[in-house]
């Protein structure tokens, strides 16, 4: 079974690539748009997928992936099942700072949620900014001497106060 490995390819200069995995393909295109149109000091590439494993045909042309974001729609059980089955195709090294979970459409407040985003334009933009910060660290471009492992312990829960107002 071909696993997605984190360090099997050479990175490109001043470029970071993020892979958005979402079963419904709804939020990912908006988020991708927000990510690339943001003003960044480095190039951002976005790859969109429905699930893992990724097609073998694209293996050569695919750049090195620095961050994998799994988008889960809390209104759909199938979304979560798809993410669970995709996780089996990830090499375990990826979990050391290269994987992130994003939930959307959540009405209840969850404890260990990593990132929660509403589907409004503001929510998408805010989520894009946060993702870019995480991506910067995962791709090794952060000026501060953090590594991705430290980052995951620093950002335990970023549930914003907007959610609690619901």
């Amino acid at each position: 079974m071909a696993l997605l490995t984190p360090y099997s390819k050479v990175p490109e200069l001043n470029t970071a690539t993020v892979l958005l995995v979402e079963n419904e393909e709804e939020l990912q295109s908006k988020l991708a748009n927000a990510l690339v149109r943001n003003e960044n000091d480095f190039n951002v590439n976005v790859r969109l997928a429905r699930k893992l494993p990724l097609p073998v045909e694209n293996k050569e042309t695919r750049p090195r992936i620095d961050l994998i974001v799994f988008i889960v729609n809390l209104l759909s059980e199938r979304s979560l099942q798809s993410v669970e089955s995709s996780l089996a195709h990830l090499h375990s090294d990826c979990f050391l700072g290269k994987v992130c979970f994003l939930v959307t459409d959540g009405r209840c407040v969850l404890r260990h949620v990593t990132l929660s985003v509403s589907q409004t334009a503001d929510g998408v933009n805010a989520a894009a900014v946060r993702l870019l910060n995480i991506l910067k660290v995962s791709a090794g471009m952060s000026p501060i001497a953090t590594t991705a492992l430290y980052l995951s312990s620093l950002t335990r829960c970023s549930v914003t106060s907007e959610l609690e107002e619901d």
Binding site: E25, S29, K30, A32, V36, R47, R50, L54, P55
Partner: protein
């Protein structure tokens, strides 16, 4: 005076529709002011018919299919059709009012106000029939059960066919029904090479955004368009599947051991059913390949199906093979 009340009602009715009708309604207004005696039922029914021709998507239309064409069915001309149709109906019903108009798109519109041997024709509930000569489809609106036999006989005789049967297709929109049955929508045929282009979404056109599963996406799009046509598709609103099958679920023994059928009706409703189904398949919500139960809507031009235990496909109750 009944015709005056009727005409006033129609005047208000008409003044909210399109320009042609407004002009005609003005004409009618002039008629009323000049002399009420000259306005008669003929003008009113004429106007009502014109209104229906211009606004066909009202009421409920049903499709019927002519079968067993005789050898000279293709030679039937308009005047011949009109004469034979009228002659038959006048022969079986004493009081009946029939009006026929040929529209510019080769459709023949027929308005029938039914009476019987004792009472005058009822112009408040006319039946409308639309037929395209030399096709086998007839579209009917507002027909009562007791008049059905007369109309069917007249159609069969006038078009030189052997029989007529129910098309199992009913919609609110005549345009949608015509487009579906006469294949006036963008069909897609299976082929190995060219793929139809998807609507280019402006969101994903940035060069830095790449799609991993674009091949799968194109394949799903192709499959969905083959089954349901390319957009815009005819605006059907419902599809009804009546189940006469045995329950075959696992676990629930009280239901599955019965001898009698587990009857149920599955109904799909949408403002545009074919577009919705196509989107379901193209976006991956429904797994492909498309089940023949759903693709039969376009392939066979029906939206009412009875599913029995005999096989996985649809019942062969009224399945005249489409040309």
């Amino acid at each position: 005076h009944i015709s005056y009340k009727f005409s006033c009602f129609l005047f208000i009715f008409f003044s909210t529709s399109n320009q042609n009708i407004i002009m005609l309604a003005d004409y009618m207004k002039c008629c009323i002011t000049i002399s009420m005696n000259r306005l008669n039922l003929k003008h009113i029914t004429n106007l009502e018919m014109i209104y229906h021709i211009e606004n066909p998507d009202q009421g409920t239309w049903h499709a019927c299919q002519l079968a067993e064409a005789q050898d000279d069915a293709v030679c039937v001309e308009l005047t011949q059709f009109k004469e034979q149709f009228k002659a038959h109906l006048h022969g079986v019903i004493r009081h009946i009012s029939i009006k026929m108009k040929k529209h510019e798109d080769e459709a023949i519109w027929i308005r029938i106000a039914w009476g019987d041997n004792f009472s005058k024709p009822n112009h408040l509930k006319p039946t409308y029939v639309v037929h395209h000569l030399h096709t086998s489809y007839v579209f009917i609106s507002n027909l009562m059960a007791k008049h059905k036999i007369f109309l069917c006989q007249a159609l069969v005789i006038a078009t030189k066919h052997g029989s007529i049967k129910d098309g199992h297709l009913s919609t609110r929109s005549l345009t949608a029904m015509r487009d579906l049955l006469l294949r006036r929508y963008q069909q897609v045929f299976p082929n190995a090479h060219s793929r139809i282009p998807q609507e280019r979404n402006t969101l994903s056109s940035h060069p830095c955004i790449g799609k991993e599963h674009s091949d799968h996406e194109e394949m799903r799009h192709q499959m969905s368009c083959e089954a349901f046509g390319q957009s815009p598709s005819p605006k059907l609103e419902t599809a009804v599947y009546r189940l006469e099958t045995r329950y075959r679920g696992n676990g629930n023994h009280t239901l599955s051991d019965r001898e009698e059928f587990f009857r149920g009706v599955v109904r799909f409703s949408s403002s545009s059913l074919l577009d919705s189904l196509r989107h379901c398949v193209a976006s991956g919500m429904a797994e492909g390949p498309v089940t023949p139960l759903l693709s039969a809507i376009t392939q066979r031009g029906r939206n009412y199906f009875v599913i029995t235990d005999k096989g996985p496909g649809v019942s062969s109750q009224a399945s005249a093979q489409r040309p």
